[in-house]
């Protein structure tokens, strides 16, 4: 089974289009596409809804099935109407292609401590509140138990937030800065900007672990085979293996937050014998000079 995993698209339609060109080359038919959150950017509600549906539609044409979860920049209840797309937030599913049976479970949103400001991030949870932490953990446990009953060959966990301590070191994320810094402002001219000043909650800005302790506790005890997550862009493209679990931070598809590490996706090939993984670029022009490359992509 071929799986393409991405996240943190932030309504960047062009990068999704570039991805479709390159993934058409993947042999063995259409892949499963996993999106680990932050599909859109809530600039305006109408624009947001259009963007996420457009993105899912484009990807649905090149995939057997899309499994997605909302990220902190998405709304919890995503209104996506594409038939082969499934929201895995707090849900699970089994995909069996005849060769290998894989169980998937997901958790959307991100912990509040990972964000510098709460504006533009409608889906956050505060895991320092015991009842919130307990509910999230219970949800994950119920889903993995359901999957286990089907006796899959592998279990894949998809969350937007990294687990605490794995590929999660960064300054608290600020989408506001991303908006300020990038060319996206050009596109937004004339549209109503979200009100931010009143709702901005400042937190400290030193480099630290931004991941979720609930997720790391869950992974520690339930040991999924693969954990795919996004959110912490600075660590995008990092792969780690701890005990039985392979961890992948796939938060660097969009060039928006970090132009340098963007434009990459994870490709997993899974069969009964094992899992192979590689990160690859959506860039097709690889034979141009370094100087030209810098001009074009920086």
């Amino acid at each position: 089974m071929n799986i393409i995993a991405i996240s943190d698209i932030y309504s960047d339609i062009s990068i999704v289009e570039e991805l479709t060109h390159i993934t058409k080359r993947i042999a063995d038919g259409k892949p499963i596409i996993i999106i680990a959150g932050d599909i859109g950017l809530r600039t305006t509600p109408t624009r947001y809804k259009q963007d996420i549906n457009h993105i899912i539609n484009i990807l649905s044409q090149i995939s057997k099935q899309i499994l997605y979860i909302p990220g902190d920049s998405d709304v919890k209840e995503l209104e996506i109407t594409t038939p082969n797309a499934q929201n895995l937030d707090g849900q699970n599913c089994i995909i069996d292609d005849g060769n290998v049976k894989i169980g998937f479970l997901g958790l959307g949103g991100a912990p509040t401590h990972s964000m510098r400001s709460t504006d533009l991030s409608p889906y956050l949870w505060n895991e320092s509140i015991p009842i919130v932490a307990e509910n999230l953990l219970t949800e994950l446990k119920i889903n993995i138990e359901k999957i286990a009953q089907a006796q899959p060959d592998y279990i894949i966990l998809i969350t937007h937030s990294p687990p605490y301590g794995i590929a999660d070191r960064s300054k608290p994320i600020t989408l506001q800065e991303m908006l300020i810094l990038e060319d996206i402002l050009e596109e937004l001219k004339g549209e109503t900007k979200p009100e931010t000043k009143e709702t901005t909650k400042k937190t400290t800005t030193s480099i630290r672990h931004l991941g979720s302790r609930i997720i790391s506790n869950f992974v520690k005890y339930y040991k999924p085979d693969v954990h795919i997550f996004g959110h912490v862009h600075k660590e995008g493209g990092k792969t780690e293996t701890q005990e039985a679990t392979k961890f992948f931070n796939v938060s660097h598809l969009s060039p928006l937050p970090y132009r340098l590490t963007g434009r990459k996706y994870l490709h997993l090939t899974i069969n009964k014998q094992g899992i192979t993984s590689s990160f690859d670029h959506v860039i097709t022009e690889r034979n141009i000079l370094f100087s030209e490359f810098i001009e074009r992509y920086l």
Binding site: L181, G236, P255, L260, T261, R286, I288, L289, F290, I294
Partner: protein, 475 residues
């Protein structure tokens, strides 16, 4: 009988005594309000300050002193040094300050024999804000590592008082400032200006024989691809910087030329908008240019300082030449392994300096793997370590370690154990910082690793500057 002084077995070094006397003369005979002492690393600036304080206490000129130090761990080190070398110079370390505790602290100062309080500059900011203490509570202030008292980020005022020590310039009691020799002159002048005309500067380039380092010829690494990449990036870097300067010139904006990154701060841009009438579009243009400028700098560092894992995660690895470069082992790291291996075989203790945490981690991992080092052989200390952990690690290196890999975490006054050589993997950003790093090893050899071509000339210049400084220093 003296109430305080050097303990038995301790004495001042030959050159320290005259500096102490000069300091006292400035305070006592010339009635200076502020004395600035600027000496090289490792010359015992703290001891000089303590000796001067001791004399002033004995002469009944000072009863209570306030010592201000940049970081909490240095406060502990300062007070411990005072107690180890001097009797009668008990200082309270970082007292917990609250409305309730202030009266107790005053009581302790009065009756428990302490000559004062040592605290961080952050604490000073709080006591001033909350008015727990005023200058009336003290007869003297000593500020160690005082170079950061003024910062140069303000485009209107030029040098500006640090937010932590703001208000100190208004205190009328005697103040003694200690700062490293290699602080830029411009900064020292600005510092003195902030504290008024009744100030004296004692600035001497003294070095003891055991502090003199032997600067070896840099080890040159030949990697032509690095030159191609870095030259292009340098070119982009200059172009982007020129474009930002052009905008600044157009609006007549002074300052920011050295640190254009500060223009990314929304508050700074807001001030510029108000002061110079910058439009929203121009601000965006500046931000886009600076973002590129920062990215280019990052990439350059990755190439020069072995950031292969970062590069392989970046889009640059989609480029043919970069991919080719990534396919072979890092030549600089391999050269480091060779050098370290030779020196370890000679029984040397080594100190490796890297400017960035990621580079220090990379070096540690690489050396451990290639030389099959045991964890106790190699110690890495970076800003990611808690203060207590830093000192435990230093102690472990001193007792059983062979290699200490650090970032500039010790650049301010920390005493680190002696080493036979320092290998500079990543050159510090300025001569001032370089001397802070070199000064830490107290003698020994200095070895730079540098890429042929792009880095070679600047590294040779740095090495020459160091050699000249050591050669010309009075002993």
């Amino acid at each position: 009988m003296d109430v305080c002084g050097l303990r038995e077995g301790f004495r001042l070094r030959e050159y320290q005594e005259p500096i102490v006397n000069e300091t006292l003369k400035e305070f006592e005979e010339k009635a200076r309000q502020n004395v600035f002492i600027s000496l090289p690393q490792g010359t015992g600036k703290t001891v000089i300050a303590l000796a001067a304080l001791s004399k002033l206490v004995n002469d009944n000129k000072v009863k209570k002193v306030l010592v201000l130090i940049p970081r909490r761990v240095l406060v502990n080190q300062w007070v411990d040094k005072a107690q180890e070398m001097f009797y009668g110079l008990g200082l309270m370390k970082n007292p917990t300050l609250s409305k309730e505790s202030v009266e107790n602290i005053r009581g302790w100062l009065k009756y428990a024999g302490a000559v004062g309080i040592a605290m961080t500059m952050q604490s000073f900011k709080n006591i001033i804000k909350k008015e727990y203490f005023t200058e009336k509570d003290f007869d003297m202030v000593i500020v160690d590592e005082a170079a950061d008292l003024v910062i140069s980020r303000d485009f209107i005022e030029g040098f500006r008082m640090s937010k932590y020590l703001k208000g100190l310039e208004k205190w009328q009691i005697p103040k003694l400032f200690i700062l490293p020799y290699h602080v830029r002159e411009k900064k020292i002048i600005a510092l003195i200006k902030k504290f008024g005309n009744n100030s004296a500067l004692i600035r001497k380039m003294v070095l003891e024989d055991q502090l003199i380092c032997t600067v070896r010829d840099p080890i040159v690494i030949d990697d032509p691809l690095i030159n191609i990449f870095v030259e292009k990036l340098e070119d982009d870097y200059k172009k982007t910087k020129t474009n930002v300067h052009r905008i600044l010139n157009k609006y007549g904006i002074e300052g920011y030329r050295e640190n254009i990154e500060t223009l990314l701060n929304p508050e700074t841009l807001d001030r510029l908008k108000k002061a110079y009438g910058l439009g929203e579009e121009t601000c965006q243009q500046i931000q886009i240019l600076i973002t590129k400028y920062i990215l280019v700098q990052h990439i350059k560092k990755w190439f020069l300082y072995s950031g292969r894992s970062e590069l392989s995660r970046s889009i640059l690895s989609a480029q043919k030449d970069v991919n080719n470069w990534l396919s072979y082992e890092d030549k600089k790291l391999n050269k480091l392994v060779e050098e370290v291996k030779t020196r370890l075989n000679q029984g040397q203790k080594l100190y490796i300096f890297a400017q960035y945490i990621a580079t220090a981690e990379l070096i540690t991992g690489h050396l451990t793997e290639k030389l099959s080092l045991k964890p106790r052989d190699i110690t890495i200390i970076t800003g990611a370590d808690e203060a207590d952990a830093q000192f435990e690690k230093l102690s472990s290196f001193k007792k059983v370690g062979k290699i200490l890999v650090t970032t500039p975490v010790f650049d301010k006054g920390t005493d680190i154990p002696q080493a036979d050589a320092i290998i500079v993997y990543t050159p510090p950003p300025s001569t001032e910082k370089l001397f802070q790093v070199i000064g830490r090893i107290r003698g020994g050899e200095v070895i730079f690793l540098t890429y042929k071509g792009i880095e070679e000339e600047s590294t040779n210049q740095i090495a020459d500057t160091l050699r000249k400084t050591f050669a010309s220093a009075p002993r």
